[in-house]
């Protein structure tokens, strides 16, 4: 079973994504804090990480950089899910090696399609 880690400080976003991905039989781990996320990602080695940009203490961009700088997990694709809708923000996100830059509000269905495409769900 494929595994996806979702990190967002808004609980309802986590709930929504988890519910949607579970319909496709994807294992979802949700995290409300980014602080310990790196450790968990290292341990869990998920197929995909979905990140919010704006989180207290450690921003999505910082976390993304950390993942990409860790050779063990650098290959894991990352989706950035954010309210920052400006082109310049998207540029910055993509520069960090983000697979997809998704702006809120988003359609859970199309998110699921994108996830399937990224992890190659059978």
């Amino acid at each position: 079973m494929k595994k996806v880690i979702v990190i967002d400080d808004e609980p309802f976003i986590l709930m929504m994504i988890a519910d949607k991905l579970k319909t496709a039989k994807i294992d979802v781990i949700t995290l409300r804090e980014s602080k310990n996320a790196l450790e968990i990602i290292r341990n869990e080695k998920p197929n995909l990480v979905i990140l919010d940009w704006m989180m207290p203490e450690l921003s999505g961009i910082d976390l993304c950089n950390m993942i990409k700088n860790d050779p063990d997990i650098a290959a894991i694709p990352i989706f950035m899910l954010t309210a920052k809708g400006q082109d310049s923000d998207e540029q910055l996100g993509l520069q960090c090696g983000v697979e997809r830059y998704i702006t809120k509000p988003f359609s859970p269905k199309s998110l699921l399609d994108m996830v399937k495409e990224a992890i190659g769900n059978e």
Binding site: E10, I13, M16, M54, G85, P105, F106
Partner: protein
Amino acid sequence: MFKMKFVYRLITIFLLFGLMIVLPYSLTIIKQLEKMIEEEEMVSYVPGGNGTIIPEKGSELHKEFIPRLIDQMLPYFFYILVLAFLLSIFFSRKILISLKELQKGTRALRDGNLDIKLDIISDDEIGEVTKTFNEMASAMRNTTLELKKKDVYINAMLDPLWVVNEENRIVDINLAFTKLFGHLREDVIGASIYDFFDDKNAEIMRRQLEERREKWLSAIYEINIFAKDGVQMPVLISGSPIYSDGQVVGKIGILKDFREQVELRNELRQSRDYIENIMNSIEEEIVVIDKDYRIVKANKVALMNSDIPIIGEYCHKILHGSNQPCWAEGHECPAQNVFLTGKNYRTNHQHFDASGKKYFHEILASPIKDSSGTVINVIELIRDITDRMQHENELSQKNRELVMLNEISRLLGKSLKFDEIFSQVLHKLIEMMGMDGGGIFFIDDASREMLCRYHKGISDEYVKMLGRIRLGDDIPGKVAVTGQIMTTSDISRDPRVDRTIMKNSGVRGYCCIPIRGKERIIGVFCLLSFKAHDFTQEEENILSSIGDMTGIAVENIRLFEKMRELYEFQRKRREEEHSQLLSLSAKLGAAIDLKNILEGVLDLVKNFFGADFALLLVSDEEGNFSLKASIIPLRQADELLYKASVNSIERHAITRKKPFVLFDMQSESEFFLAPEIAEKKYHSSVAVPMFIGQKAVGVVSLYYARKRNFSDEELHFLEIIANVLAVSLERAGYYAKAISEKELSDTVLQSVADSIITIDPGGRVIAVNKSFEKMIGVLQEKAIGLPLCDIFRFQDGNESFRLRLAECFSSALTGKAVKRDAELTTAYGNTLSLLISSTPILKKDGEIAGVVNLLRDISREKEIDRMKTEIVRSVSHEFRTPLSAIVGMTEMILNGDIEESRITQYLNVIKSEGIRLSKMVSELLSIARIESGKESLKLSAIDLNALIQATLESFESKISGKDAEIRVSQNGALSFVGDEEKIKQVLVNIIDNALTFSDKKCIIEVNVRRKEDILEIMISDNGWGIPEEDIPHLTERFYRGKHGEKTKGTGLGLTLCDEIVVMHGGTLEIRSREGQGTSIIIEIPFREV
């Protein structure tokens, strides 16, 4: 000295030598002959002869004698000749030397050696020749030297020169020619001078040459010549013909480099055009006057304002219609003054136009000096101040009248004695009207005559003669009958006057004022002067009202006298208040800002007459009444109360021109009352009209809750008060008008806040305004003369600004006005966003005389722009998260992704996020409303303790989530008046911030206390703190500091808090240190419940 000719000398020498040889030889010949003859005689002696030889008769010897003689003699002859020749040659050898010398000399000359001087060896022709040769050589030497010198001079000449032959081909040029034009000598020799001109200049040259062909005169003219590089160079040619043997063989032209002069001339023309432009753009008349007081220049306005051409005319002729300079009543001629002193001179003149209309002009005359400092012209700026002067005159007229009225009303009020009143009023009238004398006539009802009771300035005899006038006779008699004031500027020419004694008395100006009692005329004031006196309508009006007032006073006195005993006590009290009122009215006269004083007066009047309400209405020209002052605030001052068409008590009083008393208002429905007055249900009222002459100024009204009637003297007194108030109001009106006009012009002058820099076509600064100095921080004198962009060199970072500026003005120089934005760091070091707008100054012919560059500070606009963008960005951003829930979750429910049991949970999230969204919208709207000034406080009593508790409760889940500790300290129960909802908003925002920007287990303290009149609320946390550089910006809209990046928020919270606190009249202070925590201190004035 005797000089022997060469031939003679030769002959002489020859003869000399010949003689020297022939003489001794002749002796030898003679001896030889004698010997031969002796031989002959021995051979054959022939007698008969005395020694002579007769050859025919001789012998053989005889026959041989002649050949022998020849044989004997010939060698001698030959010898003599040769000898003589040799000797002569020997003695003449000097000649040869001389000739040789000559030959040497000529050779030297041929080789160009002019310094040769030959020795004069002989004193003969050759000597002469040699001498002449020497002289010739010396002359040649001198000529050559001179020629050489001339050559040096010509080549040393700084001005180019050309020599041209009859065919106008160049024969010679000097070095300067090559230097200036670059043409080499070998290139130009033989060339036609027309090769150096374009068509236009060739034509000039041709004309010049043709014109002078016959006369062969020299000429000087300006022309452009092609230099080697093809550039046309302006030169001043001074050409002269070259003569030889009385014939013109060519021309010589000196070509003076004229570039500098042409440039100077252009500059002069430009500066003239520029000055003309400036002169024409000024809306006052400007004229330039020369030493003869002729107008040499005038701007458009001056030209337009005159019907006839003024240039070349005498200024005094144009302005005063006078042939003399310096005509003006008591004023000096400004131009003359400036010519004499060389300094600026400002004066006011009165001028008359062609139709005789009087104008007042303010003239500012300034000198125009030449380089030596001599005043050559005077420039006068003439400003039409007729309107202002008229206002001032009116004002001073009103002032005079007011003073008079005050004085007289004071007199009337102060005294209750007839004699005193009349003599003093008469005295004052004479003094104030500038009359020479006067008298008072009273009507004696019994005799139908008028008797002079008081007089001043006229003799008793005169009074005896004229002191008794029948009613209807003469001016006083007529005035007493008609009740109308009569004035005459010159009584001796007035047809209305019958009595000749009056006409011949020397009196000229005359004025007769009726003294009007309550019901009838009681007498007349007569004023007279011994010179003609024009009475204006205004004066007549004021005199009339003084007559009326005096009459009223007299009536008052009569009444008082009758009821003195009865009203003794009352009178005393009244007198006291009366004088108090009058002192106030005197103050009133001097006051500019009437409002407070009017209210004071009204209050006094109200108390004096025991009224419950008083108001003062002012009437405008249409008769509308607006409120000036009232005892209880009714409406905004100057607000319209009654329209002219409304039949109010006040309107009625104006129509009647006397006080109107309404005894029972409740039973009278005819009059309309303002609702504010009607609701009070007053019973009685009195309205007293205020008049200035015939002009209705307003009404003073008193209202009573009880029914009340008014005695006549009370009404008279009210009238006096109304009169004083009327004059004060009128005067204040004029004063305000004069002041506002002056302020307006000042404001207009100062209102240009933009920097204005004017440059010439070369890009150099000609002028800058004061705002430029203020905005940029560069002094005027430093900027002027600099190339425009160089002004801004003071800062390295200004390159892009300078580039933009250059772009603008270069474009303007091509005739196209341009605008550009640019940022500039000023000399003060601050950075401004400026809008550069460059506009060309066009001359009449369309040529560009310069550029006006305007720099407008648009920093504020930029900031607003930035904020707008920020709002849009932030709003869209903040709205996205709640929208995610609404959009995403709805989609999932619709797709059937969610099982039945969890749908409610989903819907709840959708609802709460919807509410969050709407809160954000309302928060934004609140700020917008407060900032636009539309929001007002809904004040109510607030229990602060309860409010804090309620606020904290709403954070319960967040507090427990953070495991935070909340400490609330409060000294006693605090209740105060404020807008509860808004104060709660403040608390919510600050506590939310404290929780958001702190770690878990943080401590938040809420501290409330009252410091005298101040309520202090302090909310502190021990959270992350705020970087120092963020603190000043936190109350800016959408500003999110360093920590804002990590959290969600609108950036509006503190903005809203600050706005709300300020609305309450308080302050919000933020104290913070990074890593230690933040304290927000709110101080608002404490309002007791």
